[in-house]
Amino acid sequence: MKKIKIITIIVLVILITMVSFFGVYVHVQNRMENKVRDYDLDMDLQGARYVRLAVNKESKDVIKDADGNEVDTDEEMTDEQLAENGYTKESVPNNTEDSLTVENYEKSKEIIEERLKAQGVDEYEISVNSETGDILVQLPENDSTDNFVSNINTVGKFEIIDADTKEVLMDNGDIKLVNVMYGSSSSTSSGTTVYLNIEFNKQGKEKLANISKTYVESDNTTNTTADTNTATENTSNEASDETETTDNTDTTTNETNTTTESTETTKKEITMKIDDEEIMTTSFDEPIENGKLQLSIGSATTDADSLQDYITQATAMASVLDSGNLPIQYDIESNEYILSDITNTEIEYIALAVGIVLLIGFIVWVIRYKVNGFLSAIAFVGLISLYLLVIRYTNVSVSIQGIVGIIVTILLNYIFINKILSKIKHSEDSKKLENVKEAIKESYKEFFIRLIPICISIIAFCFASWTTISSFGMVMFWGVALIALYNYLITATMLKVKAEK
């Protein structure tokens, strides 16, 4: 019976090992497909999207009036038209010489960094060339990468202008923060609406209040009064008496004023622009005193995919506006996916090296602790196999730090099992079940008390937003959890069964 128990555990360990190291292959169409999930690798191991931003060197044509003021016009004017209006056309570089400074290059880098953080990019690398101003951004390759890239060089110039006069009423300087909000309309039950919430600073709040009072849709009533002479029969009933009723009909000619009311709706509108692109032209229904402007992105929807799209759009817009505008206009020079220089072969070499060291460790166990050492070695292999499966199925992104975490876990498990085996060996009678139980109990207590500070650090790392450090935390978290649970269920059981024997 005891023999069967041990054999069952060994078979289970072999099974887990087979699944973990070789996979489970299923015939799909004309090929065999491994059904065991693959590792989720981070940027260092998988490769990254390299986005190279170069300082824009182009110029734009600006039309100026006789006083040298810029004329905002959408019309293409001929030279004759320009001359007629007294306008001149000048070619102005998108980035002035004065703006091309190291400070502005650095500021641009910081703004891009802020945008990436705001969009939830949890791993990136940015470097800036202080001579040319070129910026190289490395991003993890996934479904959202293109979305991040599309916003990376947006200048983020925000303006609210008078739709008619083009006077700038508000700009980036008035913004306090921009974020994304959701709201569901209960009255229409048409789903959830995504809002871009723009909160203005003190100065912006006052400006918005004034604008929202001025730029309203109003009914302007014009009174036209005409003097006309009309003959009106005025019939009045005078002095009615219960006993005597006299009908007194008096016909007079009165001068009457006829008033004609002509109602005209006039609209003062504002235009909201982001990067000189018109987002909307609207007027206000009521004054906004709270300094918050909420713009709906898309329409209300119940469809999860559409909602996610709107959220992504709004988040991108919020991140661009919230981080301020880029002092320099950049162009995306190149955008390509480059694989990691760490190849699979190199990772396999590391795995092989760890395997060889472990094998030596197992041999030492077998020599020192005989059957207990052999059983522990088998259980150890099972732990590693199960551990690698857990990492794959718990969405842990494996980074170089994660690999180090795996190695540390293996090392800690070796120290722990070695402690148990040593205590059993040095107990009065190593074949006595009570002694084995006591050795295991003591080892657990001693080992895990020493591990508490490490566990605290691991949990803190798990909550880090940076992938590489959270990867280490998660890998170690599952490792320590497995050391505690697996060894209690498998290794300790095997050692106890052997002692009973």
């Binding site: 940015i126 390509e336 996916y337 220089d341 591990l451 650090s457």
Partner: protein
């Protein structure tokens, strides 16, 4: 006891020497940054077919000699290669293109191949994302150690822990500076490793001291009785 003191003194002297040597090395030569974090130059060549990194490595060894080189496959079809090194002269570029053409039968031209300048990543930018998680972890650990080993004097335990953690990291960076191990992707894992093993060793030491203290206390109680 004398021997112990001697060995303890020896350890201290050794540590001080390593730290001084490390500081001198950093002041004179600075850290040796990995190619990934240095000012580099990069060329990208369209080979038009899948290739072996080892073959490219052989070519770059011939062209760039002792220069550090990073070879990466580009895009999903993996038919382009990105070669990054400290600097690429016109002659090296021309040689590289010729050798690639010879090996893969391509018709690449040196004059069409652009050399891209890549700026270095600053050390503080590498460290920045790790500062807050580490600070939080260390603060919680210190609070735990202070409470758990209050019998060993909370202030002493906390100060000792800070000292040991700092010392271990300073030692690590001194060794990195002296041995010229490149500061790169393996640096942070090394820092984490040293941090974890320092924690483990420190807690083991505190546990031993606590056990000793408890034993002494029980002995005192017995003698009083």
């Amino acid at each position: 006891m004398k021997q112990f003191i001697k060995s303890k003194q020896l350890k201290i002297v050794l540590m001080v020497l390593i730290i001084i040597a490390g500081i001198v090395m950093i002041a004179v030569k600075g850290f040796n940054f990995d190619l990934k974090y240095q000012d580099t130059q990069r060329v990208e060549l369209y080979i038009q077919t899948e290739f072996n990194i080892a073959d490219i490595k052989q070519i770059t060894n011939e062209v760039f000699g002792n220069q550090k080189v990073m070879i990466q496959k580009v895009e999903v079809f993996e038919d382009s290669v990105s070669i990054t090194t400290t600097s690429i002269s016109d002659e090296q570029k021309s040689n590289l293109v010729t050798k690639i053409n010879e090996k893969y039968g391509t018709e690449l031209k040196a004059e069409d191949t652009q050399v891209e300048n890549i700026a270095h990543t600053r050390g503080r930018d590498i460290i920045k994302p790790y500062v807050i998680p580490f600070a939080i972890a260390i603060i919680i650990v210190l609070i735990y150690l202070g409470i758990k080993y209050y019998k060993l004097n909370t202030a002493k335990v906390i100060l000792k822990s800070i000292g040991i953690m700092l010392l271990s990291q300073i030692l690590l960076f001194s060794i990195i500076a002296i041995t010229r191990i490149p500061i790169g992707r393996l640096t942070i894992p090394m820092v984490i490793l040293v941090y974890l093993f320092t924690l483990f060793g420190m807690t083991s030491r505190f546990e031993k001291n606590l056990a000793k203290k408890k034993l002494e206390e029980s002995k005192e109680k017995k003698t009083k009785k």
